[in-house]
């Protein structure tokens, strides 16, 4: 696309050209530096306010406290993360119960059973599931899923509940599991499948006995990514799960074994780490107060957890990958 009218310049390049080269190179490097700066800024922003927070509330108190009420009406703030962890774990676990089996089966279908035509239609359609804005999912959970569940399975369910939110988080994370797992399964060389058929294995046996074990590292890393996405999910739970930081009632079964009735957690409203952060923004946002700083402490916890999970998933995918 160079102009043919320009005569070739065979002399040594002038200073202007060199300056131009350097300027553009520098500009691009500056753009790339912004990505590093973003990471640094996230760290510094979260840490600086979190450190102020931990000066007033000790880390032990934060991690073991069973009461979360940053803006109580009568005074007596409490910053214990345990109820929030229970909420987050409930949502994450229930969502994983949906997304992991369905996502894995989807991946097996796409890579082993689907015709090329079906795959080319299904794959982009599945990506839509991850592209719907999460606030829309939250609205669906609140307005359609909860009443439907209430009318059919759980009449005693409360309007804001963990179950509907978890179902939606699960559906949203299906494509994360399916697309990464499918990539891993498609990377399994055909020779392995042919060898299986040669030994008289059926298609089912080849799929579950050869392809899945051979791609297990990719599958595992997709699970971790999906779970980490579910942990950080905000809008679905904010809209559909309500905002009550509760400790579930611990009951005693036979022989005095303590247990928590899942219905107590799933059918009632709860609060996740992300919901707690959104809740605080309803108040003071200019900074300096304890609730404001606690938001950053929660953000730091969330950031650390998701970062660690991503690194682990990366390591699993890299280190335990079977090379063919």
């Amino acid at each position: 696309m160079t102009d043919s009218t320009e005569s070739p310049d065979l002399t040594r390049r002038g200073g202007l050209t060199r300056l131009k080269e350097g300027t553009y190179g520098g500009l691009f490097a500056a753009c790339a530096a912004i990505t590093l700066l973003t990471t640094a800024a996230i760290f510094v922003t979260l840490l600086s306010d979190a450190v102020v927070f931990f000066r007033s509330i000790s880390i032990v108190e934060f991690l073991t406290g069973t009461n979360w009420s940053p803006n109580p009406a009568g005074g007596g703030q409490a910053f214990g993360i345990i109820p929030l962890l229970i909420g987050t774990l409930t949502v994450t676990f229930t969502a994983a119960l949906i997304s992991i089996p369905i996502g894995t089966l989807t991946a097996i279908y796409l890579s082993e059973y689907a015709t090329p035509n079906a795959r080319s239609i299904l794959k982009p359609l599945l990506e839509i599931l991850a592209g719907i804005p999460t606030v829309v999912y939250g609205y669906f959970a609140l307005v359609y899923i909860t009443p439907a569940l209430k009318a059919t399975l759980f009449p005693e369910m409360s309007t804001f509940n963990a179950l509907a939110a978890s179902i939606m988080v699960g559906i949203m994370t299906i494509p994360m599991v399916s697309s990464i797992s499918e990539d891993a399964m498609s990377a399994v060389p055909d020779e392995l499948r042919q060898a299986g058929y040669g030994l008289g294995a059926t298609k089912f046996e080849v799929s579950t006995g050869i392809v899945v074990p051979a791609s297990i590292s990719g599958i595992a890393s997709s699970y971790i990514l999906a779970v980490s996405r579910a942990i950080g999910e905000t809008m679905i739970v904010v809209v559909a799960m309500g905002a009550q930081a509760r400790m579930p009632e611990i009951q005693e079964a036979a022989f005095g074994i303590p247990f928590i009735n899942p219905a107590d957690v799933l059918l009632e409203s709860g609060m996740t780490i992300t919901v707690a952060m959104v809740q605080i923004t309803g108040g003071d946002l200019t900074g300096g107060t304890l609730p404001y700083n606690s938001m950053f402490a929660l953000g730091l916890a969330l950031f650390a957890v998701t970062l660690v999970m991503n690194v682990i998933s990366d390591i699993i995918a890299q280190r335990y990958r079977e090379e063919y």
Partner: protein, 588 residues
Amino acid sequence: MATDNPNADGFGEVSRVRGIAFEYLSFGASVFGLVALGVLLVYVAIDAFDLANASPEWLLTYFLTLVGPFLAFCLYSANDPEVTRRALGALGGGLVVVAALFSAIEAFVAPIPRLNWQLAYLFVVAAPTTAYLAYVGSRGRLGAVGFGLLGRLVGGVAIGLAVGTLFLVFDALLWFLAYTLGVLPAVGLYAFGRVRSAPRARTAAAPVGLVGLTAAVFLRDVVATYPSDLIIYLWTIAVPVAAAGALLVADRSGRTAGVLVGGLPLAVATAGGFLAAGAGLPAPTVLLVLVLTGVPTAAYVSRVVDVGEGVVGLALPFLLAAGVIVGALIVEALGVPAPDPWLDASYLTEAPSRTPSEAGLYPAIVGSVIIIAMVAVLSFALGVGTSVFLEEYTPESGPLGTLTRILQVNVANLAAVPSVVYGLLGLGLFANLLGLGIGTAVTAALTLSLLILPITIISAQEAIRSVPDDLRRGSDAMGATRWQTTKNVVLPEAMPGILTGTILALGRAIGETAPLIMIGAATTVFRAPDSLFSRFSAMPMQIYTWAGFPQADFRYGVVAAGVITLLIILVGMNGSAILLRNRAERGS
């Protein structure tokens, strides 16, 4: 397949039940999420358009006047008896099956809330068949022309409205000066250099433009009298667009056609603008919409007429418009009860309200458009810069290679940071530390730009990587410097891919709510923002607020309409991204 072998008796038997059950189970799993989403979308559409109250006569009228002719057009374009047979079979057979199944479920299992068999038929049979036929029809020459024209009309209206919205915030007078003093001379010089092959003039273009822009900023407050808004838009946008269209067409099919393509829409738009000013409508927006719709449409019509194939396809927009008008007339004449949709013109043009029937989304739409425009510019520039640096400027090995890898891992990790954490970054850094203000449009745009930056970078890198190395080597062999190779070879080749990735990432940004809440975006604003530093609301923010209202009219009506609006904009953006990618793939 060992199990299919009929001669396998001698080797013993293998049960196929397990395998078949597993295949269907996995197929069911892969459509589970889609079916669930589909059902939810059907319900939200029924709520937004009040279809539950649509009488069967109303549905039938529009089915006959609007959908029927459209399907006939697609079938005529596809011109394939097999497709016709299949489509008619699906529509007819589907009617019987859905009606029977639906009645059976209603009678024996349980009534299905807010759904009747006509609606079920509409969504389960008619909508997929229409989509399939539109796809098949668009592959015929006739259909391609029809949909191309329709796309230009809709796209022109959308872009015109968006540009009109942007000038609510950006200073039109400053833009007038900047255009007159900076942009116009620079473009003129560059074009002159191009045509007369005078490299000096081209080199001078950039400095002249910069000087002009600087002068514009200084003169903004000095100049006392400005022309009216309508004249400014006419001079700075309508005339250049028309001129560009005219030049393009004149190049291809002669001077007369060029003058027609440029002049006719310009005249219509000018007349429309002045009429709108008389009628009290926002004249600049009318002018922009008319000219941005008219010029591409006219250019397209001229090309189709030149090519001479599928000219009949140009009738598609008229067919649809006639369908709507005739349908409305029949409904009016027969007195058929019509539904009262939540999503209507007043919903899109009015401010939020405490009464559901008066609530509107207008300020939130304006807020979203403004933020997305800024995010688009920022993330595109930063994303392209970073990906060019990573792909073209850094070596793969050596000490600098380590830097590349660090950058790469960093980008991948940033992509997985939860969006609330970006919200905290925006709150702590942009809003409080840099003092850009809590809940302002600038803070939101910067935060969202950083949020989608990793996605933009990753997709831009893929696009740059897919440019064949031969092209780079060829350019190098001609003595081009690295920047020249990048500018002349790599970026033009990779641009469709980069744009596709950026638009998809913008789709993510337009639906993000959590970061907006964290930076303190207003839950409800009653006036559209008028500067970059005014408090704003965005569409997802407004949906979030309304979803918390307890009244059923809000929950099932107003929010549903908002959700549909948001999803339509998303579908439009992603659809244009996919079209762009397909076109680029076909071209290469």
